[in-house]
């Protein structure tokens, strides 16, 4: 009886691993690219990896995936594993800009091109190409638009910002972009709440609830990522503050990323402005960088996605560039 159970477990193990053989077989032949993400916590990353899978497939490439769960050391291991697999290119979203440098060196040594997606590495002698949205600039423009709108409406504003994970450069840059603008407009905007979300939905929910409780008159709200919109909507509805632009009691609301939820809320009139990272462009830039590198060209170390601000006013004009609109469209169909 023991033997049979043992045989069973071993068998199950083999079967579980064996189910992936098909994946491995495909890996032979054409170009293989590794996609190393640190998480898939927000729609931005989920859509990102899906767009990458699609575009890679269209080019006839094979993709391998690894998620590090915000663990720099594990990600370094994953890079080394991909080097062992002799992939043709590594696309990486690291957690820490400095901790990724040994990984770049390892890729350099193995002569495998490395492209950083959305987050650039720190300066070093190692060579890699980074694609990044101009977070601070995009956030400045977004908040700038909101402040202009606020000035037009008149009155004083109590502001609240939902900050991302304090260990994430992008979160820091977006926070800084926000403060660049509000600090220049202290006369009408008073920041009464900074909610630390740690990129965590229920922390955001609780933090914003408490902030609204402490300051019921908050009327200027900016989130560092659009994936927190559902929680914001829940909280504002509970506090009876969820109103469209133009209605009484509307909270000036700004987002960042440009996901499908942001598109829907812009269209419905709840969201005033959204700083959009041009995800399609960023993926094209990243894959283009691989092709350049394979061709022996040496692109710049940092390629910027200028991004753009989309508002209720110019939604129709700009929405085709907004990746969230494409996802939204697909969801409407299916």
């Amino acid at each position: 009886m023991q033997i049979s159970r043992r045989a069973f477990t071993v068998g199950a193990l083999v079967a579980a691993a064996g189910s992936s053989i098909s994946v491995m077989v495909k890996a032979e032949g054409s170009k293989t690219v590794a996609l190393l993400f640190d998480s898939l916590v927000s729609p931005f990353w989920v859509s990102g990896i899906e767009i990458m899978r699609e575009k890679a497939k269209a080019k006839g490439w094979t993709t391998l995936e690894n998620i590090s769960n915000f663990d720099d050391n594990k990600q370094f291991e994953q890079v080394k594993a991909m080097i062992s697999r002799k992939v043709d290119g590594i696309l990486i979203i690291q957690t820490d800009a400095k901790a990724v440098i040994p990984a770049i060196r390892a890729a350099n040594a193995a002569n495998i091109p490395m492209v950083h997606f959305n987050r650039p590495p720190a300066k070093s002698d190692a060579y890699s190409v980074a694609i990044q949205a101009d977070n601070r600039k995009i956030m400045q423009d977004t908040v700038g638009f909101m402040v202009a709108k606020a000035k037009k409406q008149g009155g004083k504003y109590k502001a609240c910002i939902l900050i991302g994970d304090l260990g994430d450069v992008n979160a820091i840059q977006r926070r800084d972009g926000f403060f660049d603008v509000v600090n220049a407009n202290k006369d009408i905007i008073d920041v009464v709440a900074r909610v630390s979300t740690e990129w965590n939905a229920d922390k955001a929910f609780a933090g914003l609830t408490n902030a609204i409780q402490a300051n019921p008159d908050i009327n200027f709200l900016v989130t560092s990522s659009d994936f927190l919109h559902p929680q914001i909507e829940q909280v504002l509805k509970s506090a009876n503050k969820w109103h469209k632009t133009g209605e009484a009691g509307h909270v000036l609301f700004g987002g960042f990323d440009g996901d499908e939820g942001a598109y829907a809320r812009l269209q419905d009139g709840y969201l005033d402005a959204c700083g959009v990272q041009n995800l399609f462009l960023e993926v094209d830039m990243a894959f283009g960088a691989f092709e350049d590198l394979w061709a022996g060209k040496k692109p710049e170390k940092l390629l910027l996605d200028p991004g753009f601000v989309i508002t209720q006013e110019d939604l129709m004009a700009k929405r085709d560039q907004m990746w969230g609109y494409t996802v939204w469209k697909k969801m409407q169909k299916g």
Binding site: Q2, A16, L40, E65, A99
Partner: protein, 347 residues
């Protein structure tokens, strides 16, 4: 999971016991985890041949060293029936404290001329201090280890973030570390990584301490029956205090290796590996209830988890499959161990 315990039946039983097949004997040995590692390795080899290259094997070895060191520290605490949840925060706090001494971007110890020395002292010192704090709270204030180390984990993880944000421009980490320091984590000597030598030394000392010294025997006695140990003259409080200090020290040393590997002092170092640390010790056979465990068992557990992880990394599957396979592999190992335990009990 438990160790090989032998109930000692009478000699008559010995004579009547049927000869066991090789498979059953293997199943019952303390090397079961190693055997499972080997089986897993063979399966992976069939799927991804590159797992069996010298480079990959060396990668696995080098990569498991810091985890091994911190898991060895954990083993000491588990043996006295404690638990050290603060280990990740020790990694993080030591990493930023040590790196902040050495960083080329205005490290505190640059003026001394030997920033590396000061930096290493800072790593070890932070580890010792947090370990000491845990130990004092547990032994002098009589607080439960679980909750003491849970709060120190929260505190020092938070502190590491706070410290980094206050002292760096981008608020995320300390880079630009001296190359001689980085070599501890990355360098090799005739192909042998320094980290391997360092972890090997820690392992040897820990193994000798636990198996050969009076102090080691005291730790097991405390884990097995603290009251009997106290009445037999074992300085229970002092020994438990030392167990936590050793865990802190191991955390500091592991942090040196991690930080050197990543060339970065980062406050999020090791924040997700708590279950790996405790899990590898427990998979190896160290008991959460004290009194049972060996450094070699912890080594087997760490090796097992590291090989499992590396295999999954090489496969490059989506997250869902990675989680499911990792869970299944651990569970299969645990079920086998449970079966083995029952066989042992049956005699």
């Amino acid at each position: 999971m438990s160790s090989t315990q032998s109930i000692t039946p009478g000699s008559a039983a010995e004579a009547t016991r049927p000869q066991r097949s090789f498979a059953v004997r293997l199943l019952m040995s303390e090397y079961l985890v190693l055997v499972l590692t080997a089986i897993y390795f063979l399966v992976m080899w069939a799927l991804v041949p590159s797992i069996a290259t010298a480079d990959t094997l060396l990668d696995i070895l080098a990569a498991m060293m810091p985890l091994l060191v911190v898991a060895i520290g954990q083993t000491f605490v588990l043996i006295v029936a404690g638990i050290d949840l603060a280990a990740p925060s020790i990694l993080a706090a030591a990493s930023v404290a040590g790196a902040s001494m050495m960083t080329g971007e205005g490290g505190f110890a640059l003026f001394t001329g030997v920033p590396i020395g000061v930096g290493i002292l800072a790593f070890v010192g932070v580890g010792l201090l947090i370990g000491l704090l845990n130990g004092v709270c547990v032994t002098r204030l009589g607080m439960p280890p679980f909750i003491v180390t849970l709060t120190t984990m929260m505190f020092f993880s938070g502190f590491a973030l706070f410290y980094t944000s206050a002292l760096t421009d981008d608020g995320s980490s300390f880079g630009d570390l001296p190359s001689a320091f980085v070599a501890i984590g990355q360098g090799t000597w005739h192909g042998v990584p320094y980290s391997l030598a360092l972890a090997g030394a820690v392992m040897l000392v820990a193994h000798l301490t636990l198996s050969r010294t009076v102090f080691g025997s005291w730790l097991y006695a405390i884990g097995r029956n603290p009251r009997a140990a106290a009445i037999s003259g074992v300085p229970v409080r002092r020994a438990v205090l030392w167990a936590f200090v050793i865990s802190g020290l191991c955390g500091g040393i592991a942090s040196i290796i991690y930080t050197g590997r990543l060339e970065t002092g980062t406050p999020v170092l090791g924040q997700r590996i708590l279950l790996d640390i405790v899990g590898s010790a427990v998979i190896g056979g160290v008991s959460l209830f004290g009194g049972k465990g060996r450094v070699t068992w912890t080594l087997y557990g760490v090796l097992f988890l590291s090989v499992v992880d590396k295999g999954l990394q090489l496969l490059g599957l989506d997250l869902a499959s990675v989680f499911a396979i990792k869970g299944l592999v651990i569970l299969s190992a645990a079920v086998l161990d449970a079966v083995r335990h029952r066989l042992t009990l049956r005699g």
